[in-house]
C-alpha cells in the first residue's frame, strides 16, 4: 500500500542500494507530505538508516534518485538537516556541548570563514530549545545518552532547515528526554517543518507519527498512520523477509554479481 502524498517535500524514484554487492534496499518509490512527522518503521537490518543516508547523499545508490523540494539534494542542502545515530561518533572527542552545537552553523558560516557572533547566538538558542543551555560548557564525554541525543538535536536545529532526517533519536534515551524530543518535533511540524524519523518501536510509533513508512528491504507501505497500521501490513513487514528476495540478494553477493547493469 503506497500512497502518494499530495504536497510532497520528498520524492524517491526506483531507489536500489547495495552494500558489498548485497541489495539492502530494493526499488523504493515513495513520497512524503510537507509538514508531516513521518516515521520509518521496520525490523533490524531493514535498511531504515540506509534509506535516509542515501537521501542525504552519504551512500550512492545503484539506481534511482531522490528529489527534495522538487530539486536535487545539492541545490537545497541548506534546507535539509541530518541527525546521525548517537553511537556513530566518538564522544571522547575534545569538544564541549557548545562546540558541537556550533557545528550546525558551519555550512551557513562558510568554509574558511570565522564563526560570527550571530552563529553563536543561534547555537545558544538551539541549546535552549532542547533544555541544555546549562550544559553548554560541559565536555561531551560527561553527558548521559539522553543528553547526547539532545545535543545532536540542538546541532540540527541550529541549521534552521525545513526538512530534518533523524536516525534513531529515541534509541537509548530516558523517558523524560523521549517526551521532550517528541514535543519538540511536534512544535517543529506545527511551524511547517517536515521531520522524518527512523524508529523501531511499534507501540509508540502509532502515537508519534502522522505518516508512516513500513520498510523491510522493500517498501511495504507508505501512507497515513491509520491506513498503514493494519495487521496485514505489519505482518508483511515483520513476518520475516521475503525468502525469494533474500535468496537472490545472497546469490548476488556470493557470486559478486551487480544489482544493476552498468552502462
Amino acid at each position: 500500500m503506497i500512497k502518494e502524498a499530495k504536497n510532497p517535500v520528498l520524492e524517491i524514484h526506483d531507489l536500489t542500494v547495495t552494500y558489498h554487492k548485497k541489495p539492502v534496499l530494493w526499488d523504493i518509490d515513495l513520497t512524503i507530505p510537507a509538514g508531516s512527522l513521518t516515521g520509518i518503521i521496520g525490523p533490524n537490518g531493514a535498511g531504515k538508516s540506509t534509506l535516509i543516508k542515501t537521501i542525504m547523499g552519504l551512500i550512492k545508490p545503484s539506481s534511482g534518485y531522490s528529489k527534495i523540494f522538487d530539486k536535487p539534494l545539492d541545490e537545497v542542502r541548506k534546507r535539509v538537516s541530518y541527525v546521525p545515530q548517537r553511537g556513530s561518533v566518538d564522544w571522547d572527542f575534545p569538544a564541549s556541548v557548545f562546540d558541537v552545537v556550533l557545528m550546525g552553523r558551519y555550512s551557513d558560516a562558510g568554509m574558511f570563514k570565522r564563526i560570527r557572533k550571530a552563529d553563536r547566538e543561534l547555537a545558544m538558542d538551539a541549546l535552549q530549545k532542547v533544555g541544555m543551555e546549562k550544559f553548554s560548557k560541559r565536555q561531551i564525554s560527561e553527558l548521559s545518552g539522553g543528553q547526547q541525543q539532545r545535543v545532536f538535536l540542538a546541532r540540527a536545529l541550529a541549521q534552521h532547515a525545513d526538512l530534518y532526517f533523524m536516525d534513531e533519536p529515541f534509541a537509548g534515551v530516558d523517558a523524560a528526554t523521549e517526551n521532550a524530543i517528541i514535543d519538540l518535533l511536534h512544535e517543529m511540524t506545527g511551524k511547517g517543518k517536515t521531520v522524518v524519523v527512523v524508529h523501531h518501536d511499534l507501540q509508540s510509533a502509532i502515537k508519534y507519527f502522522e505518516w508512516i513508512l513500513l520498510l523491510n528491504t522493500r517498501l511495504v507501505a507508505s501512507g497515513p498512520v491509520t491506513e498503514v497500521f493494519t495487521s496485514e501490513l505489519l505482518q508483511k513487514t515483520y513476518g520475516g523477509k521475503l525468502t525469494l528476495l533474500t535468496e537472490i540478494g545472497n546469490l548476488l553477493q556470493r557470486e559478486g554479481l551487480p544489482a544493476r547493469e552498468t552502462k
Binding site: 543516508k53 575534545p94 568554509m111
Partner: protein, 430 residues
Amino acid sequence: MYEQIIDFLSLSDPNVRTVVLGSILLTSSSAIIGAFTFLRKKALVGDAVAHSVLPGICLAFMIGGAKDPLILIPGAFLAGWLSMILIDKITLHSRIKEDTAIGMVLSVTFGLGILMLTFIQHSGNANQSGLDHFLFGKAAAMLGSDVIIFSAIALLMVLTVSFLFKEFALVCFDREYASSMGLPVKRLDFLMTSLTVLAVVIGIQAVGVVLMAAMLITPAAAARFWTDNLKLMIIMAAVIGAVSGFTGALVSYLYPSMPTGPWIVVVASVFAFISFFFAPKKGILQYMIKQRRIRLMINEENIIKAGYHIGEDRKDFTSSMTATDLIRRRPMPESKLKGHLAKLTRQGYFRKHSQGWELTNAGYKKGSRLVRIHRLWELYLTEYLNIASDHVHEDAETIEHFITPELEKQLEQTLNYPSEDPHQSKIPYE
C-alpha cells in the same frame, strides 16, 4: 661540555640558529598535523607512511643524483601517498583487514627502502653520504637552504590548519554529518592526508623514518590528558613538539655522531609519561589519590556508624566506648582504628576520655544520617526493586556513603518518611 651547552643556548652561531629553528619548526608542525591524525585514529597509518617514504627518497636520489630537498621531497611525498592509497585499496578490495594491510605495506616498503639504500651506498656515488641519516634523523645535517624550504612548507601547513580548523575538526568528529552539510569531505580528507604525508616528509630530516610516527602522535596524545579543548590541545602538542625538537638539535650539536630522532622521541615520550601519570582529572596519580580518599572516607564513616550503633544498643548515645567495643562492631586492626579515631577526634566527631571515646553531637548527627540512609535504601530496594530483605544489606553498606543530601530528600519523599526498615529497625530522623 658545559661551555658547549652555553654556547648552544646563546644561539650565537648562525649554524646553531639554523638547526634549532629547523628542528623546532619540523617537530612542532608535525605535532600540529599529528593531532588530527591522532583524532582520526590513524596513528598506525602514519607509521606506515613514514616507513614507506624511504624507498621514495632513495628512488628520487637515484634519478636526481643529488641530496637536494627539492628532489627528495617530491619523491618522498609520492611514496607516502602511494602507500596510503595502497592500504585503502587492499582493505577495500580484498578480505584483508586494515591492520594487516598497514603491517604489510609498512614492512614491504621499508624493506624495499633499505634494499635501495644499501644499493646506493655500494654504488660508489660520492653524493650519497648522509642519505642514511633519514633512517634515524640528524638535525645538524640541515643546511640553511634546507631550512628555508622546510620552514616554508611548515608554515604552509600551519596556515592551512588554521584556515580550515573548524572543517577539519568536524570531519574528525562526525564525517557523515559534515558530508550531509555539503562539506567537501573527500577533498578535506585528501588535504588532511596530504598534510600528514608532508609532515612526515619534512620531519624525517630531524626524526628519521623509523620514529617519525611517534612525533606525529605522542605530543597530541600527551596534550589530550591535560585539556578537553581542541585548540588548546593542539597548541600544547605544538609546544611539546617544539621542546622535543629543541632537545634534538642540542644533542645533535653536542654529539655530532649521535642520531637525533631517538632523542626527540624520548623527550616527547617523557612528556607523555608525565601526562599519563600526573595530569589533573585524567592522570593515574589523581585517580589513585581519589580512590584512596574514598576508602579513607568509608572507613571513617564506618567508625562513626559503629559508635552510633553502640549508642543505639545501649539506648544511650553519650555513653563512652572502648576500642574493643568499636572493633567488635567494625573489625579492624586496633592501631588502624586508633589512627582514625585520633583524626575523627580532631575533626570533632568523637571526644576522648580516660576510659575511651564518646560521640560528640556532630558525631551523633553524622552517624544517624548514615544509618538513616542505609535503612531508607534497604527499604527502597525491597519495595521498588523487589529484592529480598536479606539481600539488601551489602548494597546499602556501600550506597550509604555516596548519597547526596538531594537524593536523600528524594528517597525520604518517595518512601513517605517510613519509620522502619525491612528488618524492623527504627529509621532515625535527626
